[in-house]
Amino acid sequence: MMQLVDLEKAFQAKIDQEIKIEPKDWMPDAYRKTNIRQISQHAHSEVIGMLPEGNWISRAPSLKRKAILIAKVQDEAGHGLYLYSAAETLGMSREQMTEDLLSGKAKYSSIFNYPTLTWADMGAIGWLVDGAAILNQVMLCRTSYGPYARANVRICKEESFHQRQGFETLMVLSQGTPEQKAMCQDAINRWWWPALMMFGPTDSESTNSDTSIKWKIKRKTNDELRQQFVDMAVQQVKVLGMTLPDPDLKWNEERQHYDFGEINWTEFWNVVKGNGPCNKQRLDAKKKAHEEGAWVRAAAVAHAQKKAARTTQKVA
């Protein structure tokens, strides 16, 4: 039997050679835990992320937009499913993940604790929130844990489609009536900073980054991804003829990147700690659905058992 130290060396060697880690492979406990935490958090984000957009399905302003929005929210449910499955390969049960979400033990992306106040928010979420998520997910297509990497490949395809739809939604508003233009700018103003916060604390504050990069769970730091996002958004907002709500945004010739203003980290940590505008509302909605669905799940189990019993009887 191999010594722990050899197992760890062999594991790191695989990582270094860009060989994916698969469910049955040996892995350090911390690697397993970090992946479970990250994958389940990603799954929860997809599932909670259905709520702010679902909020506008009944009020979508055209049949086409309504169909697109329904499809998008459904895709998010699908992503949640792939991701829960990926986490299950690490020995975490779906029930446990659900419980941890509802109890507040597990986190999800804080962005979904902001309210969707106008139709333009559907565009801004697609453009900025999905846009930020994609940068992360593109990186995660190459994450070292195989099932998670493959889940991200599937997710990325759909997400970039969503992002384009979001941008196009804003595009139409930006060319619309004065009210629509104002709605568009207002949504960008409200979602810009929370989108920047999606990449997490600055590298100097981030606790898990070092090992995550050594194990190739992540390949870029929070700040690298955030900068990439800012550089991209600055170009795109020009196409919309709108502005980003940051007076400090400026091209830095030396860095060859855009400088941007200070993020309100107090707000960030408040939302993480549960004090965002919608934390309670989001979890309450999920708790309600879970509680009101209990009898349905119980009935499904009871019926399956009855059916199985009948089949056994017939066979016997």
Binding site: G54, R59, V172, A289, E292, V296, A299
Partner: protein, 256 residues
Amino acid sequence: MEQSNNDHTALVDYVLHLADNNLILTQRNAAWCGHGPILEQDIAITNITLDLIGQARNFYQYAATLIGGDATEDSLAYLRNERSFKNCLLVEQPNGDWAQTVTKQFFYSVYQFLLYEQLQKSSDETLAAIAAKSLKEVTYHVTWSSDWVIRLGDGTTESQQRMQQAIDNLWNYTGELFEPAAYENSLHQQQIAPAIATLQPAWLQKVKEVFAEATLTIPENSFVQTGGKNGLHTEQLGYILTELQYLQRTYPGANW
């Protein structure tokens, strides 16, 4: 010429009736999105909803072509009032619990399946094409909803009671599906649509089969509530339309 005008009006009304049925049920079902009892079923009902709105759009687009002028799928969905909507009362009834939602879907999908089976043979090529294309979708809706009726009916004591309650709440709205409005009669005479009443026996047969397996019973009070097909709705519809139409009403003439 007048006959032909009447025929044309009847066709428009009929197509709107088909479209409205689907749109209003879309509006109801979509409320589950993100709030379902099981994530997989959240996806399933949303899939069905996507089929429903897709079909609705086909019908509205066709109606817009028939009407001509400025009519669009959106003007028809967003700018008609509560007395102009021609959906059956069934589809506007509240979601209630999961039992009521699957029961409503089951009643409607079985009806829709039988209707589209006939409609694909319609002399109106557009309707025939939409029906033919949608039939595969509806076949799945019937299977899915039947499975749930059986699962809940033959599940726990609580689920059985909830199912029976759901059936009692909705049963009186099922008869309207088969009571022809004037435009349905007209379309039948034009050989565009089936005689809707003739589909009732097959519908009842299917319902009885599924209910038998689900250990559920058909209510005794079979008084038929009607009106929806002719724009006389329950108080439910007004609230559905306030949400559905709010943005179009608030920003008239805007593109989205």
